[in-house]
Structure formats: structure tokens, C-alpha cells
Symmetry: C2
């Protein structure tokens, strides 16, 4: 089984690395980090560099694809014709087509979410409609072979579910034990319904200011036009 994980400048690392770590335990799996051009990719914080081992063209028929999001990178990836053409092509034959966080907007831009339910980072939830998708407030959403996960850390839950589908639930529970995935967050503020409203307002303001600064004039014409509460 070959799993391709898209990487690009400006991606959010944990969107990709959470699922990678979980899925890497599938027996006899090959995971390949792919990009329009191979080589170094800077994540959104600019502190971390991941390496794309292969170009999209070198991975023409992966069994599973994972499309991560990125606070600033999603915008460019969702307009990259090489990414969109590759997605349309490989989606024909994947066993699972998946996204994490705003990676859903990239799947959306490739037409893959048209007419189905999907999820994404809560901050981007209004942006799904422009691709014909219906936003669902869930940790992850399964529609046939399309799995979309909520923001950042949700990719870990989705990937563990996927291990269960691919290698069986008994095996998935062993992977959970290997990763000691017994989460005990010290706070309980991880979703809009749980966080105090003042915190979500502060986060929205900060994200919007950040995106406007990073994407500058491009922001208004981007797929992030609806990228607001």
C-alpha cells in the first residue's frame, strides 16, 4: 500500500505529521511525501523544513492520499494547477482520499467535495460552500472513500480510524498503544462549543490579522474570502 502525503511551502506540519505517524504502522506500507517539485518545503511558521521526496508526477497512483492544510500555504496549493490536476487524476483510483484542516479546501478546489458533506478547521468552515460541499461540525467526516478531518490535531483521530479500516480495529488499537495516544489535554478548550466565546473571538481576530498580513492584497480574491466566522 502506497500512501502519498502532499507537502508545500506554508503547510501546517502537524496536519501532515500526525497522520503520517499513525499510518506508518500499517504493515508493509510505503509513505511518500510529494510536492509539485521535490526538495525542501518550509512550514507555515518558517521554523521547520520538511523534504518532499518525490514529485507528483513520480507518484501517479497512490492508494491513499493525505492533503494537509496550512494557515498561509493552503491558498497557493489550492491554486496550483499541478496539484489540482494530480488530485483529479489520482482520486479516480485511490482507496481513500483524505484531508486534514484546510486541506479540505484543496480537495474542494479540485472538485472532489462537490455535493458531499465535509469538514475542515472551524475557522474555515464557511469556505467549504463555494466548492459545493456541506460543512459538518465533526471530528472527521466519511463520505464513501472521502475522509475530511477538522483542524490540525484531528488528523490523528482520522488516521487511527483509517488504520482500523485498512488493517482492522484490533491492529488499530495496538497502534494507539504504540503511540500512547491516550490524550489528556490540560485544558478543555479545543472546539468552538467548548472554548469561551471571548477566546474564539480573540483567535479569529488573530488569524484574520495574520492571514491579511501574510497574503496581503491576495487575501480578498483568494479562496479565503469566506474564511471567517
Amino acid at each position: 500500500m502506497q500512501i502519498a502525503i502532499l507537502v508545500y511551502d506554508g503547510l501546517t506540519a502537524l496536519d501532515a505529521i500526525g497522520p503520517y505517524e499513525v499510518l506508518s504502522h500499517i504493515p508493509n506500507v510505503e509513505i511518500v511525501f510529494v510536492a509539485t517539485s521535490s526538495g525542501n518545503k518550509k512550514t507555515d511558521t518558517k521554523f521547520l523544513t520538511l523534504v518532499a521526496e518525490k514529485t507528483l508526477a513520480e507518484v501517479p497512483s497512490p492508494d491513499v492520499i493525505i492533503i494537509p492544510g496550512g494557515t498561509i500555504g493552503t491558498n497557493n496549493a489550492a491554486k496550483d494547477i499541478h496539484v489540482l490536476n494530480w488530485l483529479k487524476e489520482v482520486h479516480q483510483t485511490t482507496q481513500w482520499t483524505t484531508s486534514v484542516c484546510t486541506g479540505a479546501l484543496i480537495l474542494g478546489a479540485a472538485g472532489i467535495l462537490d455535493g458531499i458533506e465535509a469538514t475542515t478547521h472551524w475557522y474555515a468552515r464557511n469556505a467549504l460552500a463555494q466548492f459545493g460541499a456541506k460543512y459538518v461540525n465533526a471530528r472527521f467526516v466519511e463520505q464513501g472513500k472521502v475522509l475530511t478531518a477538522a483542524g490540525v490535531s484531528a488528523g490523528i483521530d482520522m488516521a487511527l480510524y483509517l488504520v482500523g479500516k485498512i488493517a482492522g480495529e484490533d491492529y488499530a488499537q495496538q497502534v494507539q498503544l504504540i503511540l500512547e495516544y491516550d490524550p489528556q489535554p490540560p485544558f478543555d478548550s479545543g472546539s468552538l462549543s467548548k472554548a469561551p466565546a471571548i477566546f474564539s473571538e480573540l483567535v479569529c481576530h488573530r488569524l484574520t490579522t495574520y492571514l491579511q498580513h501574510e497574503l496581503q492584497a491576495e487575501f480578498d480574491s483568494s479562496i479565503f474570502a469566506n474564511y471567517k466566522l
Copy 2:
């Protein structure tokens, strides 16, 4: 505030990237990935390459250090005299000295856990005693400025706690919301006490076989000599 994250060939990516993602939201933080020599580092699965941006010598006084573990890499890192000397040196002036998973064995090898309580991946729990540390079965353990987290995914919980200590609990809850860290694992098998015994036996057998194969003759003389249930 400067946060240094150690990377090395054979590390477990999520040990490092979980805390990185959480801590990257601290205002005005600089995160730097460091290694004995800078450049590309292959993670334990060999599918992923991370880049060490700076050498240890170039980062002589970080405020916070994060030491990840690795199924096969810990063994070498814990014997690397450059790593051990750097740890002894920078630990004098850090605000926080932390580890994730078997990264605790690297802190231990540097003498940092002598006489204190600590945690690590459950599979490695018997290995802490050789460094004078007392194993505690907890998500993470705080002893003064030393924080040690349990296996792999536990680094996310530890890092969120650390954001609370550094930037305040109100701010940490906003970071939790940004990362949509509202975990909903599809199974409940993430710790020894929750997983059926047959699963922990299977996992132990698989990890031991894997480590023996990867580390070969070195295994018996390594710090993993006690690395068993």
C-alpha cells in the same frame, strides 16, 4: 524566547512535531531544530526527512529544550558525546528542560534525571532506573524545570501545559482552539491500563523484534537492555 528541538537520525517525528506545533504559537518565540551536525535527518520510519537548521554549537543558550525519542535513534543519540555535553551545558541555564517518549533516556544519559521522578514511553519504563530516575506512570511529570512526557502523542499535552506556564492559561486555551485539540480517538486503547493485555503483549513482541533487528548486536549492550516489559 528561544526553543531548541533536538533532531537526529532515527527520531520519531511526532515526538518533536507535536510540541513544535503547540509551542510555535507562543508570542515572539523562535524555534530552532538542532543537531550534532546540521542538515537532513531521516526519521525512524525512513519515509520522512526533517532538516536540522543549526548545529548544537550554534545554539548555546536556549530557554527551552525539547528532546524527542525514537524507536531506533534514541540509542545513538544517548551515546553521542556532543549531544550529552550540550545537554549538560545548556541545562544549566534553561527555563525548561523537557523530553518526549524515550527522549527521557537521552536526558537520563546526560545525568539530568538522577534522583528525580520522570516518565517515558511505557515500553521503556524499566530503562529509567539505570539513570537514577524513578518512573512515574503519568501523561507527563514536572520536577522543577524538568518536564518529561510519556510516549509519542503525550508531547502535545505536555507542550500545551508548557504554553500555559509560559504565556498563561488563557492564552494556552486559545492555542488549543487554534489546533482544534479536542481529541476524540475512535478507540480507547492508548495506555497499558486501557488496552487489552493481548494487545500490549503483541506490541511488546513487535517492538522487541524490531529493535533487535535494527540495532542487531548492539541491542544487548545498549541503554535498551532494560527496554522491556
